[in-house]
């Protein structure tokens, strides 16, 4: 027996009628896959648009908060400048009054809203105490 004789024992042919509607089945499958692909794409688009909207909101919040911080920093800078000005320019009495005569922190006096101008007239009394 030869090897070439044996292959007739094998049957790899398709079952009868397999190719009768084969082309229609393929196009149905293609159509089905196209639809599910479209669904996937629309889902992705929905997700993306949600993500983009969320990003815009986050960006808006960030810009708003950074503007707010900038304003705060500016105010602090002004306050600092004013403190520095006082330190550089105040006389001994004023300095004494600010540092020893009162227990409140110096910064309170640097803010214009809290300056009690009356204290400038009481420095004699304070000196007497010491």
């Amino acid at each position: 027996m030869k090897l070439s004789d044996l292959k007739q024992n094998f049957d790899f042919n398709p079952p009868e009628g397999y190719f009768d509607n084969f082309e229609d089945r393929i196009f149905e499958k293609i159509e089905k896959e196209n639809k599910s692909q479209k669904n996937k794409i629309s889902k992705v688009i929905k997700m993306l648009s949600t993500a983009v909207a969320a990003s815009f909101i986050a960006l808006g919040l960030y810009v708003y908060s950074s503007d707010f911080k900038k304003t705060e920093t500016k105010e602090n800078e002004n306050q600092y400048d004013y403190t520095q000005y006082l330190v550089d320019n105040c006389d001994d009495y004023t300095f004494y009054e600010f540092t020893l005569g009162n227990k409140e922190p110096l910064i309170t006096y640097t803010a214009t809203d809290f300056i009690d101008y009356g204290t400038y007239f009481d420095y004699d009394l304070i000196i007497e105490e010491y």
Partner: protein, 186 residues
């Protein structure tokens, strides 16, 4: 109705690329190569159901890829290439599902046994041949099955498997020798 026999593969592909009745043209291509593609896939798979899935996937992929086809190879070898890749991917995923071992060579594909399949005769010599084929290394088995069962030309196999004709001839020769020794044939 288009007379399928009238047109060569090149004419069909050119007409397809020029957007002329794409669906009709593709139906002709399926009619022309469906059975051969089925047989090619079936030699590697155990059941008709598996082969049916792979044949369908092959033609769906071909439909999607045909607009990019550049006629650098023949339509026939191009379709065979798709179907071979689909079959090997299927076998690989089936094998991965069965056993996952770190010792496995990732390129190795276990082509399943056909001995228990209803579509094959089950006489002793046929079973012995089946066992002999199973013992071949993967590449030799691919070459043997394509040459022995499908009687494919070496030149076509060379394009499909990206291997030189010389290497394919050597592979087939060694495969035949091994099988003949196994079966104790002349």
């Amino acid at each position: 109705m288009i007379d399928a026999e009238k047109y060569s593969d090149i004419e069909l592909v050119e007409a397809f690329l020029n957007n002329q009745n794409r669906e009709k043209i593709f139906r002709i291509i399926m009619k022309r190569y469906g059975t051969r593609i089925y047989t090619h896939i079936r030699t590697f798979l155990v059941t008709h159901e598996e082969a049916d899935d792979i044949v369908q996937n092959t033609f769906v992929k071909a439909w999607r890829a045909l607009p990019k086809f550049r006629l650098e190879s023949s339509l026939f070898t191009w379709l065979y290439k798709i179907s071979t890749n689909e079959t090997l991917s299927f076998l690989k995923s089936k094998q991965n599902k069965k056993t996952i071992s770190i010792d496995d060579d990732e390129n190795f594909v276990q082509i399943p046994s056909i001995e228990n399949d209803d579509h094959h005769t089950s006489d002793e010599i046929t079973q012995k041949l089946t066992k002999a084929i199973e013992q071949l290394p993967e590449k030799q088995r691919l070459v043997f099955q394509m040459k022995y069962f499908e009687e494919m030309k070496y030149e076509d196999m060379s394009e499909i498997l990206n291997t030189s004709v010389g290497a394919l001839k050597a592979s087939y020769h060694f495969a035949v020798k091994k099988i003949e020794n196994y079966l104790e044939l002349d």
